[in-house]
Symmetry: C2
Subunit: 216 residues, 2 copies
DNA sequence: TCGTCTATCGACCCACCGGTCGAAATCCGC
DNA sequence: GCGGATTTCGACCGGTGGGTCGATAGACGA
């Protein structure tokens, strides 16, 4: 009934339990795909099941409800982005360098690796309230990463926000969360080049005019 | 059956036609209200009807379908924002001044006057495809206003975009369209002060560091 | 006052979808 | 190959919500 999939290595679990975990992850992958394409309301469990070549009733063997299924999707994706952004921060570097790498990474994530996340960054009215709470809670954690880096940069004198840093942060989030909505892979630029341009532009809001940083 | 409400003065129309137009506008007002609160999918015609103290079937006397009703709402709001932004442009002034006024006005519009519009700026998956087409078409027209002002400013040397101006414009739209999602009237700042801060921050992406402009 | 045109309504239809249930099939350790 | 646990399934249920229809009430001009 419950959908937990910690411990990806599966150490200490019976083979049958590992198999179940694989199945759950497969379901989560497909469900995330459908949610990314259709949004929450337009996602029907019938469609998720069909793509898995499964009967809808079988889904209820793994998840209690549609909400629980989607919540698990979001949890997975949110944990992954938090991990990857966290890794960048702990790699060290100046705040400017770190922030630039965060900006690039988040764009890669929301446009390519986990497009369903781009739907989640907005406070959609289409989510049921319990999920909205989860989303909000997660956005706060997400923002904390950026907040810390920006505050470091302000203290170090690398960033000169013209106004309340919280406002600047909101504007940065807005610009970044918006990228998946206008990004189109067959545009005039290669994705990496585009992401760099966005980084250059967004960093201006913190008074950063310096150039680019080689990726780690 | 059709929902047109041109010619607000109602010149040359019979009294009965003017009455119908008033009714249609009343319906549009309430429908926009519900859509703003609930989003498209969660808006039920039953609720719209109930707020109007009307039977759902009566709505179909004025509109062919839910889609047509909501489309009319969006048309109305889009026309209004286009008119107001257009007015600002035609008032003249330097590109920096004009752009700043556009930024302020759009925030007033999406957070206060027409909150349902904030739902429209994002390419929601919750909209049915025909409405999405309408939305996209309208967004192009909307963007044209900003594009012209920004190009003027670049030519005049007031703006120095660090990258492709289209990218900068996307970032500006992102930051602005995002405001309604974090804006909260009982925050630390008065709304006008907040909008000015956003304007200051966003204009940095165009290399504008000069101060504020008195409203007209 | 009468006939027409408009507005409103209750009742109904139906497709969709989340969720349930009990039974059948499959897997797995022994 | 046997028995229990796990997985899968088809059939079904009930609520919701967009949309239809025919009838009725009301407004308006002649």
């Amino acid at each position: 009934m419950v959908a937990r999939e910690e411990d990806p290595a599966g150490a200490g679990l019976s083979r049958i339990e590992r198999k179940r975990i694989r199945r759950v992850n497969e379901i989560l992958r497909v469900a995330a795909e459908v949610v990314a394409e259709r949004g929450y309301q337009n996602t029907s469990l019938d469609e998720v099941a069909e793509r898995l070549d499964l009967a809808k009733a079988s889904l209820y063997h793994y998840f209690d409800s549609k909400q629980a299924l989607v919540a698990a999707c979001l949890d997975t994706a949110a944990a992954e982005v938090e991990r990857r952004l966290g890794a960048i921060v702990s790699e060290g570097g100046t705040p400017s360098e770190t922030l630039r790498r965060l900006i690039i990474e988040q764009q890669v994530f929301t446009t390519q690796d986990r497009p369903e996340l781009s739907r989640l960054f907005l406070r959609h009215l289409e989510w049921p309230p319990p999920l909205l709470d989860k989303i909000h809670e997660w956005l706060v954690r997400h923002d904390r990463i950026w907040k810390a880096v920006i505050e470091d940069g302000v203290r170090a004198g690398e960033f000169q926000p013209a106004t309340d840093p919280a406002v600047v942060r909101h504007c940065i989030h807005g610009a970044l969360d918006f990228v998946p909505f206008w990004y189109h892979p067959d545009g005039r630029y290669r994705p990496e080049e585009l992401f760099e341009q966005v980084a250059d532009t967004v960093l201006l809001m913190l008074g950063v005019t310096a150039g680019r940083v080689p990726p780690r």
